[in-house]
């Protein structure tokens, strides 16, 4: 099964909000600790190495895009 990038939550705002709230009041360090635990829990739930690899690729690509945008923005 390939990585699903369709919108899977009936109420996406609730999902986003839940993650945001989980980080409220945390320091940068605590947030980073929290994130890695969450990533491991969700990765195990998916339980499919190919899907995980696709997700990693997507996340990496997004990171490169973000860097390019930043560079373009600072060039203005």
């Amino acid at each position: 099964m390939p990585l699903s990038t369709a919108s899977n939550f009936a109420r996406p705002d609730d999902a986003f909000r839940a993650i945001v709230e989980a980080h409220r009041g945390l320091s940068e360090q605590q947030s980073a600790d929290f994130d890695v635990a969450l990533v491991l829990i969700l990765a195990n739930h998916i339980g499919d190495i190919e899907v995980l690899r696709e997700a990693l690729t997507l996340a990496k690509r997004r990171m490169i895009d973000a860097e390019e945008q930043q560079q373009q923005a600072s060039g203005k």
Partner: protein
């Protein structure tokens, strides 16, 4: 500390009296009398080959070094006639425990089922293993073991290799059809053929101390992350025979090796761990680990095995055990090539199979070492998350990596015949045979691995039959389970472990790996599988 356990004498050999122009010619010269070289020499000798073994030292027993020998290694040693002695002296274990801080995270059992002749592991100091192998060598006139014979030059020629060997009486020349290099991680022969030995060097330092003490710890492998007695680092405790305990402590990257090795500096560290200082040092060593291998294990007529060909970190017992797997893989192939029964290209399958196994061992041991010594803050954070998740989740426990212990590789090999029938279990082609408890008609118990040895440790057909006529190719003995005169699978374990039904047959290679398997073998299919496994197509 670190006394030589056994000393051997140098003896002048008549080969040394020959003029260089008429150097003695030998089919096999093997360099390095460690566990891998000695085992390989014994296997070759038992197959009828004459082997000259050269070693530059005259003693064994500088420290315990390798201590964990796997089930697969013991089954190999059974074929060489030394398994019983190794198991008799060794301490048997199968349970490992992983601790985080002061509390246990989980435990694992490497052989949770009965019905195997050999345990998951024994711990035995390498010098005992070597001494028992030397004793066995001395029973075999086909092996000519020469101490204080150091190869100082190697000259490959088309039909042989010319060696120059230094001895206390001066140098002499030897010619060998094949040279096998088992001369360890710092292999001189590897340098002589000009081969690269590339890979990853780990900056973390580990202190290994073998201590003698009376202790009540169980015979288990205990591994700690961040223990109270060694904060922020990892520790390992493992039992050996003679009340010796292996302790392995991770040190910082910038620790001074000369200072850290001093017994007076090691003592307080160990005392903190044990809660007392009633122990004596047997051996202390400080290590940085390297994971690397040669690009090619076969350099013309010079073939590399063991640490000379590949090196791993010790977490996982993948050094000596993988070297022994090299030995059992190479010996039957070289024997066939020397007899002209298989083409020289069969040796290429040694490189294919064992270099893939080396990659697997390097991958596993690199992952373990990376988990123990995270390279970046984010890696440390990930590891911390795994360790804390392990307290309450099954998946977290399974991700904790305190060393993944050696299991035989499954070869993706040109010698294997792909399955054409449907299977729901059993060892697939390229996997090593599984043991099972059997009974002879007389009522005597016999393991399948024993039946394989009695059949001659050569190409062997395992047949689940009802007494039908043998369908094995010429020269291939059959182990029959069931039927008239067959072994009795009284517990039904062979049937289950081989996913077998009446008529099922497995073709084993001489090293006990599966070459092919069939639900209903035909003579033609068996002949073809045998030819393929012999490198004849």
């Amino acid at each position: 500390m670190a006394q030589a356990k056994t000393q051997f004498g140098y003896r002048r050999h008549p080969d040394q009296d020959r003029p260089a122009a008429v150097a003695a010619e030998h089919p096999v010269v093997l360099v390095g009398a460690g566990p891998v070289g000695l085992s390989l020499a014994i296997d070759l000798a038992q197959r009828g080959q004459r082997v000259v073994v050269l070693d530059d030292a005259d003693r064994i027993g500088e420290g315990s070094r390798a201590i964990c020998f796997s089930k697969r290694s013991l089954e190999f040693w059974d074929r060489l006639g030394v398994g019983e002695r190794m198991v008799g002296k060794g301490v048997v274990w199968s349970v490992g425990k992983i601790f985080h801080g002061a509390s246990q995270l989980y435990q694992f059992n490497l052989l949770p089922e009965p019905g195997h002749r050999r345990p998951a592991f024994i711990n035995l100091q390498q010098f005992y293993a070597e001494a028992y192998l030397v004793d066995r060598v001395e029973q075999l006139p086909a092996i000519d073991l020469r101490w204080r014979n150091k190869v100082i030059a190697l000259e490959p020629r088309n039909d042989m290799v010319a060696l120059t060997v230094a001895t206390p009486d001066g140098p002499y020349k030897l010619h060998a059809a094949y040279v096998i290099a088992c001369d360890g991680a710092r292999s001189a022969l590897r340098q002589m053929v000009g081969a690269e030995f590339s890979g990853q060097v780990f900056e973390d330092q580990f202190l290994i101390a073998d201590v003698k003490m009376a202790a009540e710890f169980p015979t288990e492998r205990w591994f700690w992350f961040d223990p109270p007695f060694h904060a922020g680092r990892s520790a390992l405790l493992h039992r050996q025979p003679d009340d010796i305990w292996r302790i392995d402590l991770q040190l910082s990257r910038d620790a001074d090796p000369v200072v850290e090795k001093q017994p007076e500096n090691v003592r307080p560290r160990i005392a903190r761990m044990l809660g007392h200082d009633k122990f004596d040092f047997e051996w202390i060593s400080l290590y940085k680990f390297q994971c690397r291998r040669m690009d090619r294990f076969v350099h013309g007529r010079v073939i590399f095995a063991g640490d000379a060909a590949h090196q791993v970190s010790p977490f996982g017992a993948r050094g000596a055990n993988s070297g022994l797997e090299d030995a059992e893989n190479l010996s039957w192939k070289l024997d066939r090539v020397l007899r002209g029964k298989s083409p020289e290209s069969l040796l290429e399958s040694y490189h294919t199979e064992r270099s893939a196994a080396a990659d697997e061992n390097i991958r596993e041991s690199t992952r373990s070492t990376d988990f123990m010594a995270p390279a970046t803050r984010q890696e440390a954070r990930l590891r911390q998350a795994v360790l804390s998740l392990a307290k309450e989740t099954e998946f977290g426990k399974r991700m904790v990596n305190g060393g993944r212990l050696s299991v035989p590789s499954i070869y993706d090999s040109p010698l294997s015949t792909a399955d054409s029938d449907a299977w729901h279990g059993g060892p697939r082609p390229g996997a090593s045979m599984l043991d099972a408890p059997m009974t002879e008609r007389s009522g005597r118990a016999k393991f399948l691995t024993e039946a394989f040895i009695e059949a001659g440790a050569r190409f062997t057909l395992l047949e689940f039959g009802n007494g039908a006529a043998a369908r094995a190719p010429k020269g291939v003995p059959t182990i029959r389970i069931g039927g008239d005169g067959g072994l009795v699978d009284s517990e039904g374990l062979a049937l289950t472990r081989y996913d077998a039904a009446l008529g099922t047959a497995y073709l084993f290679r001489p090293d006990g790996y599966v070459a092919a398997r069939f639900r209903h073998p035909t003579p033609g299919a068996l002949e073809a599988a045998l030819a393929r496994a012999s490198g004849l197509n």
